[in-house]
Amino acid sequence: MNEVLAPVTGVGRKASQPAPAKEAVTLTEHIVEVISDSGEGAQRCGQSLGAIAARMGNGIWTTEIIPAEIQPPARSVAGASGIRIRMGSRRVTNGGDETDLVVAFNEQVLLGRVQAGELKHGATILLESMWREHRDPKIVASYAEVLKALHDDGYRVIEAPLEQECRKLVSDPHRGKNMFVLGMLCNIYSLELKLGREQVERIFGKKDEIVIRTNQQLLEAGWQWAEENLDFKYRIPAKRSAEPQIVVNGNTAIALGILASGMEICAMYPITPATSASHYLSDVFERVGGIVHQAEDEIAACAFAVGASYAGKCAVTITSGPGFSLKQEVIGLAVMAEIPLVVVNVQRGGPSTGQPTKMEQGDMLAACFGSHGDAPKVVIAASSIEDCFYSIITARKLAETFNMVVVVLSDASLATAQQPFPRPSFSEDWLAPPVDQSPVPEGAKPYDWDPVTGLTRRFVPGQPGGMHTLTGLAHDRLSHVAYDPASNEEGLRYRSLKLAALQRTLKTPPVFGEPEGDMLVVGWGSTKGAIEEAVERLSAEGLKVSSLHLQFIQPMPSGVKEIMGRFKGVMTVESNWSDRLEDEIIDESNRRYAALAMILRARTLVDVDCWSEARGEPIKPRAICDAVRERLKLGGGQR
């Protein structure tokens, strides 16, 4: 976007003169942010913009910007709350790099984003102008100072009288501003205003007609204001998919997956960022005969789910990092007693309370190796919004087929990110079978482990002849407590074999890009889109870089080592901490690698390098490109 700017008056251009007729500039993609104090509705505005663009047929990815506090001080740099929307002509798989256009409700929250380096050089800023004439002279001064600095730094700042315009329609413009801004953005990106009106209806559908009408008026006023006052307009050509698409975020996708998997009971305890999945589920689950039980704590939530699963109805518990730690003992019980259980961990920054609203891929090792003793369990990582949905259905099936704990890893960035994906077409095969109440054949044992696969049939209460006491103690085939070495090792062997039995059924994941080259980037979870975009960019530069993304972390499919062997170097890209080699006392002998690198090194004996960051935000494709280029320059990742 290099179109000529209209003459600027003063420091920021005051958008009051009618703009000349304008041609929409065609773009392939754009990144927009709406930034405000908490509670001003920026996220709803951005989600709506994303939904409208998706209905137009654009690819979208939305990323929420959430401060840790519910009500951080107003007009503070740290309190920036908002949303980023990446819109493109093609499918969009990640949040992208820096922002092209931002609407800011005050200059302080904007400053937060500028200081974080989130704005592209020369980005367009639409800034609420009410602060210019505020009664507090300090605010007036701060506003003028920031405005000048932004202008000096080369940003295109346009002052927009958001509240002033809204006040023409509503008495409390503070609450309606977001819909005004939505209207502006619909105009700027040439989106159908009609879709905007419908979006308002969807949002406020439960409220009365006056609320809907008022917000539609605000939307139209915003559109009109932009039409009359801005001298630019964009168009991102869209192509509607031939198949119906659904637009939801990762947590909603998880909840929909629970709905469609036939699971009946979800036991949870509130924790950020996992909880919104349960909010949605609480709203819709009971309509299909499900129950969301908010337990007294994380341990109880997990134990409740274990009890329900034991009684024949595979249940799910949803949590985030610290809650996952608390559940570990119960998870160990489920492993030992071979009770199916689905555990969803929407990872966040940690340890302790860490960064509850920010993303990190910090719990992979805890998921694989957590709990006490040898506790083999299945670990799946969802890599997209669509994957969040299907992972749950897969998880329920695996849990019940193998009588195992299946951990589904998501993270804070997937939790709130929105991306369209093909509307799932419901299959009865997804549902759990009815609870088996048939009599157990005489002589059948509750743990009749198959010598090859370790699999055993499970007896469920209500089955005549199946009575036994399940125990968390080591036990023999009759479920009798066993202290002898042979019985202990027999149980350990078969519980472990089940992972191998599952592994034998897994397909080798496909390589993204050329099947051989100089560098293979291996990733897992939410970084998939960014990694693949980076691979595309690097390949376009002529570098021989490909990527591999793992959905199954434990067990890991076969063939990974063979793929690695076709590349000169292998590195993982992850969002968790790994020691930096530039630190004085860090060397190969003491370096703590990123989680997946650690597992890959152990499993393949390949000298896998890693590059990771734990900034609490999604990794940008640009950062991955820089890291890979640097590794290639250093000849890194070589074995």
């Binding site: 998706a54 209905r55 009609k194 879709l195 419908e198 209806e201 969807r202 509607r240 198949e243 119906p244 698409q245 659904i246 637009v247 939801v248 929909l256 709905l259 469609a260 036939g262 009971i265 819709v284 009971e286 309509r287 299909v288 005969g289 129950i291 007294e296 109880a300 134990a303 409740f304 789910a305 274990v306 009890g307 329900a308 699963s309 034991y310 009684a311 024949g312 109805k313 003992e329 119960v330 160990g332 019980l333 369209p420 509307r423 419901f426 009865e428 609870v435 209460p461 209500g462 089955q463 005549p464 002849g465 009575m467 036994h468 006491t469 399940l470 125990t471 968390g472 103690l473 407590v481």
Partner: protein, 333 residues
């Protein structure tokens, strides 16, 4: 051969289970342990109520008390320390058709699992709870428990414990939604059986604290009560226990107590000497959580599909939308 329904019913009634139908193995508790008396009472209860063994689940945590399920020929769930209640709740929520019993100890229930205990009372799910309270940790060998009397010397309190004992009856009677509280002692097994029977028949969270002896670590603790029947106070009422002539002859210290009177129940609960035995409180009107939560409709695949499609409709972008129709309410195949 087919039988008319009435005949099937008759046959069910004719089924006369015996104690052996519920007995599994020989208990590994110490000689003289009060747990044996509890086991005998509960096996008798199962027989007298003719509970179908496959429809009955005994859930426990960890501790001496929690071995009880192993000696029952029903389904059993011997889980982890302190978590018997949430496991039992999950079972009951998933399967209201099952009879659920919980065996827990003073450490399991009142210490590591205390949070679950409080909330289990509040959920008031239909289950029968036996708190095996011997005032000491036995399985881990002689540590002070929350119900140990102040001054008790144990492996972790060699100079005597500093804190007053927690009173499980008072705590339970202080929680919202409490619906059944009783106390039994292992040295009056006949009354223990009557109390457990009343507990089982109460629909809700029936909490029975059973004071039991630990011959290994606290062999002397209840000697004065064993030697003096006056130190055991039996609570009787037309809506509570009715005692046999034999019991009445030995335990003459009796009091009329109406189990619907919660204020009086709280007063009785705080008595330590004599030890009150009987039904302190019963309120059949308190709703059960599983009844409140269970949806009225049967869960069929079509029902689930309809709900799922309805949700998807709200978020679907249709290819032929033509910017005119709204997704909502659109039929799909």
């Amino acid at each position: 051969m087919t039988l008319p329904a009435t005949q099937c019913l008759l046959r069910l009634h004719q089924e006369q289970p015996s104690l052996e139908d519920y007995q599994d193995g020989v208990s590994r508790w110490c000689k003289g342990c009060g747990d044996n008396a509890i086991l005998a009472a509960v096996q008798r209860l199962c027989r007298d109520e003719a509970l179908r063994p496959e429809k009955t689940v005994f859930v426990s945590g960890i501790g001496c008390s929690s071995r009880l399920p192993h000696y029952m020929k029903t389904y059993g769930f011997h889980g982890i320390h302190g978590r018997a209640f949430p496991v039992a709740e999950g079972i009951k929520m998933a399967r209201p058709d099952l009879h659920v019993f919980v065996s827990t100890g003073d450490g399991d229930c009142c210490s590591i699992g205390a949070a679950h205990w409080i909330h289990a009372i509040r959920y008031n799910m239909n289950m029968t709870v036996m708190l095996h309270d011997n005032h000491i940790y036995g399985l881990t060998k002689n540590q002070v428990s929350p119900t140990s009397p102040i001054g008790l010397k144990s492996s972790t309190t060699p100079r005597g414990s500093e804190l007053e004992a927690l009173n499980p009856l008072s705590v339970t009677l202080g929680v919202q939604n409490v619906s059944f509280v009783a106390q039994a002692v292992d040295w009056v097994p006949e009354v223990m059986y009557d109390i457990m029977s009343a507990a089982f028949r109460h629909r809700g969270f029936s909490f029975v604290r059973i004071i039991q002896r630990c011959p290994e670590f606290l062999p002397e603790m209840f000697e004065p009560w064993l030697h003096d029947p006056q130190k055991t106070l039996l609570l009787t009422h037309q809506d509570g226990l009715q005692l046999s002539a034999g019991v009445t002859q030995t335990y003459k210290n009796q009091q009329q107590h109406d189990p619907s009177n919660i204020d009086r129940a709280r007063e009785i609960a705080s008595l330590e000497d004599p030890i009150p035995v009987g039904i302190l409180y019963r309120n059949p009107e308190v709703p059960c959580y599983e009844d409140l939560r269970h949806p009225a409709r049967m869960r069929t695949p079509d029902f689930i599909r309809a709900g799922f499609e309805m949700e998807l409709d709200k978020v679907t972008v249709w290819p032929d939308e033509d910017l005119q129709t709204q997704g909502a309410g659109r039929a799909t195949g």
